[in-house]
Symmetry: C2
DNA sequence: GTCATTACTTACATGTTTGTTCGTGCCTTA
DNA sequence: TAAGGCACGAACAAACATGTAAGTAATGAC
């Protein structure tokens, strides 16, 4: 995000996978926590600390980074209220909701793959 | 694969995502090249060198690693023929074929996401 | 006997992701 | 006055993913 990447093969190859809608999509939901967060959000609005408690093993830093990334990618909506103590709520966007049925199928495939190996 | 991982938070957290069928599934198709390889294989049988030519920007090492990983995960089948020079062919398994319709949906979602951001 | 072909493998280098620890600004409660 | 909750941010470190360059074994062509 912050640091500019070099013009290396690593970066040029990254372009290949960004150009493909499929690999691009997988990137958006990839990483260690995003899908678990989406799962937990479901149809609810949750605060930063609520998510933090749910995923006590995840570092605050990761939670923060993933939420920010998903917000930029239009997967979640962040609403901050100027109260004391501050309140910030996160919820899925319509775009993320459209993923749900696809993810259900992927989940089933995952179970099947796991059984067959 | 070869080196044993330590009993770190990193490793313990990995268990969390392996326990979930969904994140587990995404891991199996994650990484930079696997989906592109599956895409290219389609219904064909392709040799190592044919894949290498198709993905000239991908290093041989990566091709080899990804193919091996996908074979272990039951996504592709490797057939080696004791000829000279050696001939090795790769093709998708039934399990991988079941992914195709799901991936099509993901691809569509990816295009939509890309347009909306 | 030298060389090319094929499908890899190994050692090393670079780049990214994830985790640890500490700090911040605002206000409330004790 | 002190302490604590909330929602983060920054600096650093560990682990992993990816890329580079070179080498291997078997064989057949020349």
């Amino acid at each position: 995000m912050t640091t500019r990447k070099k013009n290396s093969t690593y970066t040029r190859n990254e372009q290949c996978i960004i150009n493909c809608d499929l690999t691009y999509a997988v990137q958006k939901i990839g990483g260690r926590w995003k899908l678990l967060l989406l799962d937990k959000l479901g149809d609810k609005k949750l605060r930063f600390n609520e998510l933090k408690k749910e995923f006590s093993y995840m570092s605050e830093r990761m939670l923060s980074l993933q939420l920010k990334s998903m917000e930029q990618d239009g997967l979640i909506k962040r609403s901050a209220y100027a109260e004391t103590p501050p309140r910030v709520e996160y919820e899925m966007t319509e775009l993320a909701r459209e993923l749900a049925p696809i993810l259900d199928q992927l989940r089933n495939w995952g179970r099947k793959q796991r059984e067959s190996v």
